[in-house]
Amino acid sequence: MLRLEAVHAYYGRAHILAGIDLAVERGEAVVLLGRNGAGKTTTLKAAMGLVPVATGRVVFLGADIAGRAAHEIARIGIGYVPEDRRIFAGLTVMENLAVGRQPPRRDAPTWTVERLFGLFPNLAAMRDRPGGRMSGGEQQMLSIARTLMGNPRLVLLDEPVEGLAPAIVEEMARTVLALKREGLTVLLSEQNLAFARLVADRAYVIEKGQLRFSGTMAALMADAAARTRYLSI
């Protein structure tokens, strides 16, 4: 569904991604692991068109989307949840959700506000609260819900459970699994190996902008050496 081929990206002249190749198949959940500053966020942003791809291809549903504007990428069905939440602070919960809304797609699960409130009951209680007046965790939930409103085919989740309470993390794991069952494809970046292990089928480990490991989640869990080396666990 999504394929990155030899993607290079820079900030100014700092070389951040040095040839990333990865693929996500339909209905899969794939996790991108790596230490701080490894380039996980940059990889997701490059796929989303938020960081320019210097060389290489980003192929989504057969078309090269590298170089396209972010809003076009969003409209062909890629959803993005940023690590720093980026809630519209002056808009209410309902309005934040409205911004994310896109028409339903045949090949992706369809979301409504009520369905999302079922998923995140906290939000249901604060429909008219401005986003700036919510706790960090509440904002995280809203950020995910807002992206789902676009009925994406593929979601890019950047550390989705960071700052969420354990009970909610569990809830999220169940949600992601449920989303997968409905045919949604997920690419997430994580440091929380426990969560990754619950939801992901395959993993890539990235270090200094290069891939160091790729394989099934089970293979990674079995490979203690790789885990210590790249993830310092």
Partner: protein, 620 residues
């Protein structure tokens, strides 16, 4: 009593006009964060275009109203074109920078209008079917004004519905806060911004076109209106459309009655009101503080690096050139050089609060002018020597800056900028109206330096010595702990308080220092020109300062120096070679803006970085 009622209605009609312009300005600023100086020019163009259309089209109602609507739409298209061709290219530049481009547009439009419509005032036709008047409390009141009174609230309701009850409005408000995130959610922010510019400009054009039966149309109507519209936007509270109406009402009624009650201070009445409102309510009447958003309008700058060897060489060569100038330049060129030397200090002092402080000032000329007046008064009234004048100038201006800083404690961003403007206008009107002391419009004449400093070269060296030392001291302060405290307060005010920095006090001190430096420049200027006029503290001079800083680059310590040299030099040359110097200057500014979106010094620094191969990292 009857008179009061009619005067009140007059006020209401003006409020509607003002509201139309101000709401357009508010929408554009709210969404794009662009301080659009060209908004007043659009207002003026609306009036001129309506005049042309109305005099060409049939005389009936269809012709008249067709002209009004047609003019408004045409101005809307111009606004959209401005966004697409110029502003869109510089959204990523430091905020406030776009102001430069819009100012270039102001200059261009002014001269083009002069070319097309000529310098004479134009009188438009009256509205067919609304030529009469109705009886109100026994007084005749024009029907057309009644229509205007109705239009204001109508537009208010429509705008409110548009922004708070439609999806488009929600998207616009989202893009206002975070363009990138909105784009990642599928919002095409480019189209949105163009549409917003169109809408805002239509409102400006409509406001201008509707003046057709009311006033004569002239080339000055734009500038007066844009300043007033800014006052309305800020007094009402940024982003609050009802607030803008309330403020327009307040200000229009003040005009209507102020003339009767306080004829002497009508010029500043609205600025006094704005100052009071802002001091009592730092976010305007109905504005709310942005939750979770920095109120500052200057984006965090790049890190200060030690100056490169290349820059040192340029500095050294420049210094030698400064010393050698009197031997190489003729008298005229030397006076221009002296003026530039003085204005460099003026620009550097403004940069001190704008760059590291993140506090934009629309009224920095106040301190320049206060310094000039202080020096001139000491010299002419007390017959004190020039040295005393040059000593008093920065002290008086610095004290004024400290006083201002005390009042402005809680303000930031555009609110602060507008309070500085109010303060400058108040100072200006004092200089203008306290004729016994200041000579009013005639100014103070005969403020000449003593014999030893009278030759052009001698005064040149004096100006360069004082200005250069002051600029170097400011530069040093930016790299000293104080500069870091100031930047800390700009980058993250909460964090700064949480490491023991008294952000408000730091800003007050910065204001006083900047004001004192500007005052010294003003004092030097007074003895340089031999006279002092109220224009020294007027808005155009403040705007000059702003343009110099932005042109040079806010994020660079050498920016204001370069900006002042380029801007003054350019202006000086263009005036000499063409009658349409505004047009030429405007085009030059726009070209510079497009070529150097980080300011000229910012661009030079980037070049130097590249040559050195230093890691060039950009803050987003």
């Amino acid at each position: 009593m009857e008179f009061v009622a009619v005067q009140f209605l007059n006020g209401l009609a003006s409020a509607s006009s003002l509201f139309l312009v101000a709401s357009g300005l508010s929408i554009i600023f709210g969404v794009t964060r662009i301080v659009n100086f060209a908004h007043g020019s659009f207002y003026m163009l609306g009036a001129y275009m309506a005049w042309t259309l109305a005099t060409r089209l049939s005389a009936g109602p269809l012709g008249f109203w067709g002209a009004i609507i047609g003019a408004a739409l045409a101005v809307g298209v111009l606004g959209a074109a401005l966004e697409v061709t110029i502003l869109r290219r510089i959204y990523r530049a430091p905020e406030m920078f776009q102001l430069l481009a819009t100012f270039g547009v102001v200059l261009v439009v002014e001269d083009l209008a002069l070319l097309i419509w000529g310098p004479a005032d134009l009188l438009g036709p009256r509205a067919p079917g609304l030529r009469g008047a109705v009886d109100i409390f026994g007084q005749r009141f024009p029907e057309y004004e009644l229509l205007l009174i109705a239009i204001g609230p109508l537009v208010l309701v429509l705008l409110w519905l548009l922004f708070y009850r439609t999806r488009w409005g929600t998207l616009v408000r989202a893009a206002t806060e975070d363009r990138e995130m909105a784009a990642a959610l599928g919002v095409d922010q480019r189209r949105l911004f163009t549409a917003v510019f169109f809408l805002g400009s239509v409102l400006a054009g409509l406001g201008g076109a509707l003046q057709l039966p009311r006033e004569t149309i002239n080339l000055n109507m734009g500038f007066a209106t844009v300043v007033e519209a800014f006052v309305v936007v800020v007094v009402g509270g940024l982003g609050s459309v009802p607030g803008a109406y309330l403020a327009a009402f307040l200000i229009a009624e003040l005009h209507a009655f102020g003339i009767l009650v306080f004829p002497k201070i009508t010029l500043v009445l609205i600025f006094l009101v704005m100052a009071v409102v802002l001091i009592v309510r730092p976010h305007g009447l109905l504005g709310r503080p942005f939750v979770g958003l920095p109120a500052s309008v200057v984006s965090p700058a790049a890190v200060l690096r030690p100056s490169s060897p290349a820059a040192r060489w340029v500095g050294a060569i420049g210094f030698v050139a400064l010393l050698a100038a009197p031997f190489a330049l003729g008298d005229y060129a030397l006076t221009v050089a002296t003026e530039i030397a003085i204005l460099v200090l003026f620009a550097a002092s403004l940069h001190f609060i704008m760059g590291p402080g993140g506090m934009v000032s629309f009224g920095h000329a106040a301190y320049f002018g206060l310094g000039a007046y202080a020096a001139a008064l000491v010299a002419s009234r007390l017959a004190a020597p020039m040295v005393a004048g040059l000593f008093v100038a920065p002290v008086v201006a610095g004290l004024a800056g400290a006083a201002f800083g005390w009042f402005s404690g809680r303000l930031s961003g555009v609110y602060l900028a507008m309070l500085t403007l109010a303060f400058a206008q108040i100072c200006w009107s004092v200089a203008f109206q306290w004729a016994e002391l200041t000579g009013g419009d005639n100014g103070i004449l005969g403020v000449w330096p003593p014999a030893w400093a009278a030759p052009a070269a001698a005064y040149y060296y004096l100006a360069v010595a004082l200005s250069l030392s002051a600029v170097l001291l400011l530069r040093r302060a930016i790299r000293a702990p104080f500069g870091y405290a100031l930047r800390a307060g700009r980058d993250a005010p909460l964090r700064a308080e949480a490491i023991g920095i008294d952000v408000a006090a730091t800003r007050r001190i910065a204001f006083a220092v900047a004001a004192g430096s500007a005052g010294l420049a003003g004092g030097l200027f007074a003895f340089f020109k031999g006279s002092v006029f109220p224009t020294y503290l007027s808005i155009p001079r403040s705007v000059d300062g702003l343009l110099m800083v932005l042109l040079g680059g806010v994020n660079s310590v050498s920016g204001p120096v370069i900006g002042a040299i380029v801007y003054t030099g350019l202006g000086e040359q263009l005036v000499r070679f063409t009658d349409y110097w505004r047009l030429a200057m405007g085009v030059a500014i726009i070209a510079l803006v497009l070529a150097f979106p980080e300011g000229i010094a910012g661009f030079a620094a980037r070049l130097a970085d590249r040559r050195r191969g230093a890691p060039a990292e950009d803050a987003r």
